[in-house]
Symmetry: D2
Subunit: 425 residues, 4 copies
């Protein structure tokens, strides 16, 4: 879909990426299961080389990066979003092969902006080259992920080191990563939003332990396709591994969020396009009675029309938000950044569900990629803030302009409850 | 909401229009009912003069138009769409006072492009000035409006005249109009899409009769706020009243549709914004228990967040479609033109329903404009092609690219049924 | 639909009622508008005499009632619910002609149980006979109807009289009523649930004034088809007009609610059946192309199937709830009494909306009863507790069994806010 | 939930079953994955013995069955449905441990009614005792399961044998089964509904081959928890293995369907109750901020209330349908049998999705049973007729009463297309 956001710069790149994805990556999908990632890795590394050779590696990067010459194309977030959609037509390999897979893309953006030259040298450079992988360690099982100001993992300063203790889960891609960026409480007495910090922890640090890859919808995954439960036990790293300053953790998490939101949403849109494409192929070729094709049925036409509109509206919503981030910064379009999260995640999951339904029994098997897409992405409505949290935030922000400060009233209540709880002790 | 579509040319106009609507028009809404339009007309005419004086009349017009000097601003469809949204904050008067109300706006676009100089002189010029009103007479009670190739009203040529006979309904604004553009069968033997023509019929022509203003949701309306049932009985007009050529009726209807769709959709978006504004005001000020406001409730927050996303996604979808029409013509973005119709109509009606619900008993009364908006716009999912028709068309167009020609198969069936029916006679 | 709830006693009654409704009442619907109720009243009174003659008057009444002989049939609530559904096939006249229209039915149940013999003699007896009408005056414009413990209308004792002052609205059917049952604060210092009382106020009492019939969706209505805004200005009635005891108002409101809920829900189910019937008739007879009927389209089939399931599930849910009320009392099935309210109101409004959509432009006109049904019943999701209130109550009741007392926590918050507000003074 | 359907006979059984499920089965769920069924089997066999000892084995059976004494309780379908719901609180083991798991329950009902004494002796008796398992082989990958009159697998008579060739899939529980009941075309020239037959095929018959257990949502399963793709290659069985008569296949499939539908629906209702129970536990115990529990949030309350109503309405709908089957036979309540399928499957999947959402990241892991329930039951809207097929059938049946025979018109079209296709050859 050509939109107003399709610039002359990005148009030829989109075409090349689309071609590569169609011819080199989609054929690899057949029969792929997450358990077999190891077997596929050599082939994917080879594809990465092709991508680099074609000058398509790291399309999210600014122009000047790169050890052995210029890497990026200096695309805007809005332009890269369109690339990201194309990559998502190969949901399991696309971003990896082009060197812009989560969580590495977010981590590299973070390090690029806030890490010391030394940290950049040791971690960012090989990360950008695809020589190593990384993970991001924030959510804890005992605390609602929706409230990133609450966590138990702590880093206590001891000489020139931080000593880290705690338990994290959904530390995605920890399996095989070279380092983690971990969110920890460093300043427990500070104001709620100034307590946490982010620290780089190499995964070979003693005390860093992957307890398990968490089975998600029956799948423990492997390598970058996995979500680990990780413990930090007296895990000691130099103070210089801190990103930015102490207490900046929450702010860094917010910074990571704006572009991250666009990446997520555009991936879902690409996934949704793929699902709709499979739906239409099925509808056009499945005979349900002599000479009567599935696609002649209005039930199916309804699915197609609703999906087309869901996806196209979603794309424009996300790209306009990316465009505004490019123009005025994420902090100034926070409402849209919240809104696209739940709007697009729900649109996508509806499209995917329709595609499964149209495939009938085939749709729930692993003979198509649809069921794996579902297992892999049902979390879209949960990760990175559940729908309900984003809706509450969005509505609160809107109501504030009408003179009702919902959050302030909620804080008073919370204060009151803390008081009550304290009295009961 | 500032979007990528907000050009420097339209930005100051939007500001002026918004101000006028807020200060001059919205105050007129209080206690307005459709039955009292007559009483209000003198006041509205006065507002029209103010609009003209401010150079804001006929913002949809190209620059060169106008009897007494330049009228228009040469806005693109996409730019005017944004104006239209602003006008819709005064749902009952906005477009009228600014001289761009339906069906006159569509009729003037049609006459401008296809009418003879004489017709333009006699009908278009006073129409653009707001000296007269017009109506558009297409739908017939006995035929599904979704299929504009089927109709019974005919024009038979007799010398230099057409003699028109038939019954139309939902001829909106016929009450008080100076002329109708009527769609009639002139060439019954031609191919299905070449049978009809459009003819200008002055409403004082003998045989033109308004049978009634049709009560819609309990409201018969008045003047341009009404939908008439009209009969044509041996209604005789000169052949020169034909618009374009014989057999062009269906094509003209299609031409009228592209921009018309944008006008409808942007009006709904403006209406939806107004409904959401009322919703938020209520949520922020209605106390439901001591010091507890309605807006603190998550049920209401859900309504607000969903509405915000529904509206913003809809706006971008419509404006991008308008932008593409401006750029490549409506014929090349037919899928989007279908999709926005049902997508936006449904988004709007959901927002409106939530606003009614949040107002409680007040919401169903006429003490706010919400219930009148509902009565006036429930038809959004019906007029101009029901949701179901647009979805079927959109899906058929998509499936054709996958090799399944749904419409061709349906035509075969239809042919077969006609054959069967003929045999039974 | 014959269900397990269709007893041998009710089956023949259902058949008679259905026949009467079909042959005597539905023909009156044609062209009826709420404004013309007056013209229709003589005819309806005549139908009432026929109903009485057929022994079908007041089917909700216990057997022993009636001035001039036995009136009722001693039906259970569950059995009467099925009658009520049949009556609702004539949405505007059914219950009235059979003497069981709201709010009289609820008022008579209340007086029957709680009023003094004298009040019964003066008000209940003629009410049961249909000689007079009554109204119920509870909701106030300034207070959320969802919270019946908050109201400003007061009754102050002065000798043997109460002196009543305040403003009520949605006092349905006040226009033409002989008396109101009004809910007033008599004991402002008592516990929240013991402040209010219910008092009978004859409408000819000085100080009782109908300010207006409130326009609802454009319709001010008339007679028992209207919702009044009423003021009470030093309105003086004898203390003996109190129903039950002082402070019982809230409890009486609750008592009124259980059976009232069943009445509402079964009326909606009957209305929904009527809407579905009209939908199916249209689908089976509307030709949309040569020899192709609307009902051949799966979009329409989807509407029909969803509606059939929505209605049938709703009916069983309500009748089982009525059966449980008959067996163990409303207080013991409070969750179901909450749940059916929002479940059935939403099912019904969905069915009705589908019926409107299938009728196309005709559906929004007053040429069918559908649009009037909508205007008359959109309030279903609002009256008698909005959806959101019932959902909150239901969930709170469920969560209490899991050890979380949501309401207690909310009360603490409220207490805290009152405290805070007091401090600010 | 005690309903009108809870008879005195079934009430004590429900209590016993509930107790057994809670104390003996639910503890086994912890950490269970489908891959490990083998390890669990010995334990489950032991539980089966306990069930038999408690006289609770085969509660679906008529009283007289059983090799070593009376097995069943002679429950009605409606009564057993309530048992089935209780068993479904242990979604993976309940029905198996109590000897009434699909597809064995359906197969035994079929054999009981239609098989020869010899077949009964050899297959039904050990099946009822739980000594062997069976499978049902009907769906083929190349044909839409929604249309059971179309299939390619054939049985050709050769002397006293049938020689069977073809490919089936979703032959559930074939892995480890002793025999299959296979649906084959025996009479290709007969009328569409008289072509197929059902034949018993022991799985050790040469030519019977399980090609694979089909991975469903990433899970290949094992044993009775699996769905096989099966080929029949010159598979030879004696003619006496025919169930009923030649050409009865379609009718037998229909017979199997009525009770099967109730079994499915009640299992989903039990599953839904389990999901809602987990949802409520989570809501009541998950702290999202200091002293603020998840269940205090209205978003969650909305989920709970909607789920409660969805489940309770579904249960009554299914039990009333079962009651009517008991009373007048499935053939006379075909509309309800269609309607409950899509109504309940959708209600259930909505409840399940809400439960996953409320659990946040935990909800998509295998640390609760929710994600496994989803993977195992997403097919609910597909198996046994997709939603769309049931809706079409239901609507067609309704429209027939209004004089529109949709199916007849569709048959004409089909005939026409066959004709057209033949001409093209």
């Amino acid at each position: 879909m050509e939109t107003i956001f399709t610039t002359d710069r990005v148009r030829p790149l989109l075409k090349k990426v689309r071609h590569f994805v169609q011819t080199e990556l989609i054929p690899l999908e057949k029969g792929f299961s997450h358990h077999q990632l190891d077997e596929l890795i050599p082939l994917l590394e080879q594809k990465r080389q092709q991508v680099k050779a074609a000058g398509l590696w790291g399309l999210h990067l600014p122009k000047e990066e790169g050890r052995s010459g210029p890497l990026g194309h200096g695309l805007t977030l809005c332009e890269f979003g369109q690339i990201s959609e194309e990559l998502a037509h190969a949901p399991f390999f696309g971003h990896y092969v082009f060197g812009c897979q989560a969580p590495d893309i977010g981590n590299s953006e973070l390090l690029h902006q806030f890490a010391s030259p030394d940290i950049k040298e040791r971690y960012l450079t090989p990360l950008l080259e695809g020589d190593i992988r990384s993970c991001f360690s924030m959510t804890e099982p005992e605390f609602a992920g929706s409230n990133p100001t609450r966590m138990a993992t702590s880093a206590v300063r001891d000489g020139n080191d931080y000593v880290i203790n705690g338990r994290k889960w959904f530390t995605s891609s920890a399996d095989g990563a070279a380092f983690a960026i971990v969110m920890v409480v460093t300043n427990p007495e500070a104001d709620q939003h100034r307590r946490a910090s982010m620290i780089v922890v190499p995964t070979d640090t003693p005390g860093f332990s992957i307890e398990r890859n968490i089975p998600v919808f029956g799948d423990v995954g492997q390598g970058w396709f996995s979500h680990a439960e990780v413990t930090y036990t007296n895990c000691r790293v130099p103070v210089s591994n801190l990103i930015g300053e102490e207490g900046m953790g929450f702010r860094l998490a917010q910074e990571r969020l704006g572009p991250g939101r666009i990446h997520h949403c555009m991936r879902w849109i690409g996934n949704a396009e793929k699902a709709l494409d499979l739906l239409c192929k099925r509808a056009a070729t499945r005979e349900i009675d002599d000479n009567i094709m599935l696609g002649e049925k209005q039930f199916i036409q309804d699915f197609i029309a609703e999906s087309r509109a869901d996806i196209d509206a979603s794309r424009l919503y996300v790209l306009n938000t990316a465009h505004m981030i490019d123009k005025v910064g994420a902090a100034n379009v926070r409402e849209a950044v919240s809104a696209i999260k739940f709007f697009v995640a729900n649109s996508f999951l509806r499209v995917l569900d329709r595609a499964i339904q149209v495939h009938g029994a085939l749709g729930i098997t692993d003979d198509t990629v649809l069921s794996a897409m579902y297992r892999h992405e049902r979390g879209a409505r949960i990760w990175d803030g559940a729908d309900e949290v984003h809706k509450q935030n969005l509505a609160s922000s809107i109501l504030k302009k009408y003179g009702l400060d919902v959050k302030k009233k909620a804080r008073e209540l919370q204060e009151f409850r803390r008081m009550m709880a304290a009295e009961q002790l």
